[in-house]
Symmetry: C2
Subunit: 323 residues, 2 copies
């Protein structure tokens, strides 16, 4: 009996040891499982991207502004293009179409575009001889930049090749607006946000043009009812090249809309716009056309008398230095 009791105790002891062992193993396994879970949670947290900081709307959500700039070789060309490219670099979602009046791309313009940091398309077309300004003719006799602006329209319509930069025209359905910005005007960065959401054709005043402090649309009740201008107020669209922008879909929907090099003086803008819009449907911008955000500035032609003198003495400015 004594021995039997001992056996009972022994069996009880062994069973309880086994139970204890089992419980311990379970407990340890559970704790390890918990820790593993925590580790995998923490690892997931680590690999989750950080929360995005508060930001302006994604540039991808904005319509693209296509800025068309005709340019030609002259002493102040680089200065003007540097100044303009720096202004454009302040505008998001902008694509610069720079069109040289030349047979092909020049090193000066190619280098400037490459260094600009802008999204650009480099185009080139020489103005036909018959359209070119003759020596001594005043500038207003023949409109300048017509072929170049039309070449940019051709490219937008997939009808013309680019020499450098972005060579593919905008794919169908691209939201955008087209603005003709000569290289000598002065542009406030605010102007570009005024034009960005143009539905058809938007308009605004231009400073220091046409012999006036400014020219621009007259607006009543949010609609264009006339134009403030001194010169031929009865032109269909008495607006300066710098005073309007056209939506890209509208331009693409009217494939015949282009500038007419033979248009009478002051009618170049009308030659394009009359294909596109009725004057009463113009969209006034810049606080109902009461704010001047672009100025028709002209840069003086620098005098080179001393340069010519020094060159005759073989001491002219180093031609290897680009100006």
């Amino acid at each position: 009996m004594k021995l039997k009791l001992k056996n009972v105790f022994l069996a009880y002891f062994l069973v309880s040891i086994a139970g204890l062992l089992y419980a311990l193993v379970q407990l340890a396994a559970e704790q390890l499982r918990q820790k593993d879970l925590r580790i995998s949670q923490l690892q997931a947290d680590l690999h989750r991207p950080p929360p995005a900081p508060a930001q302006p709307p994604e540039p991808e959500a904005l319509p693209t502004i296509y800025v068309v700039t005709p340019t030609y070789a002259r002493l102040v060309q680089k200065a003007e293009l540097v100044r303009l490219s720096q202004t454009l670099s302040l505008v998001p979602r902008l694509h610069w179409l720079l069109v040289e009046d030349a047979e092909g791309p020049t090193p000066l313009v190619s280098g400037l575009l490459a260094a600009s940091g802008l999204l650009f398309t480099h185009l080139a077309v020489l103005t036909p001889k018959a359209q070119r300004l003759r020596e001594g003719e005043p500038g207003w006799v023949r409109p300048r930049g017509v072929e170049q602006r039309n070449r940019a329209l051709d490219w937008l319509r997939s009808r013309g090749g680019a020499v450098a930069g972005e060579k593919d025209p905008p794919p169908p359905g691209t939201r955008g607006v087209v603005y003709f910005a000569d290289d000598d005007n002065t542009y406030s960065r605010e102007l570009f946000e005024e034009m960005r959401w143009t539905r058809g054709v938007s308009v605004w005043p231009v400073g220091l043009v046409g012999g006036l402090r400014f020219e621009g649309p007259r607006v009543q009740d949010g609609r264009v009812v006339g134009f403030h201008t001194a010169w031929e107020p009865n032109r269909p669209f008495p607006v300066d090249m710098a005073g309007f922008a056209v939506s890209l879909p509208l331009l693409l929907a009217k494939p015949n809309a282009r500038f007419d090099a033979t248009a009478p003086r002051g009618h170049l803008e009308s030659s394009l716009l009359s294909h596109l819009v009725d004057p009463k449907d113009l969209e006034p911008r810049a606080a109902n056309c009461t704010r001047v955000l672009v100025w028709h500035t002209r840069t003086e032609k620098p005098k080179m008398k001393q340069e010519e003198q020094l060159q005759r003495q073989g001491r002219g400015s180093d031609p290897a230095v680009e100006v």
Copy 2:
């Protein structure tokens, strides 16, 4: 003996069970310790700030560029200042000292500065009548902007009050450089980084000035050995106002260095620089003075013939619209 053997087995069994239990507990504890370590490592990783993206040096580490611009009321004033302010907005750590040639601040300039987003100090001082250009006199007879530049120097030296913007002059020990930037020139944004680390007086070429493609220092072995200029090459410093910058500590160490309104034509720059530096110690910038990064552009005075005609008819441009 039989029982004794059983007891030995029992004792051995109990000891080995105890050893097994101890080993198991140690093993589980070690595993838990490992997991705890991993968890605390992961938590530390989570709270560590994300690695900084590759960035330019903190703006605070850069010397400040003090850009001194004299300006006067004229038709193209706003256009010029908008264009310049937009260029300056591309330059980090820049402080614009805009000095009006006027008895006090004008609404046009005050509004423009407030909207510019720049760090600025607005100053104003009227040019004394004796120094002013007379009707019909060519521009080069009397240097323009002398009083205004000197007023900016006074402010930097804690000797003149500002009308708006940052009114406290730079505290002692401020690292900086001072540049005199007229409101009609064209500036590449690159120019400002060339001048930022000026120790004494730095120099570079200026395009389209003095009747030449460019004027500028001639450099040999990294030192200025002469100047390319057509006009009075023997002036102490035949450099344009746009062609040099002076370190702020140097300007403050020479309290008598200022512009002399009575200096002969072309000697205005020399009247300041001869207080500050020996020509042989000029610091050439812009790739040893072989790159043109600033152009002495001049904007045409707009013709207002039509404006005068319309005004006589009571139909002039709305004076409430700022141009």
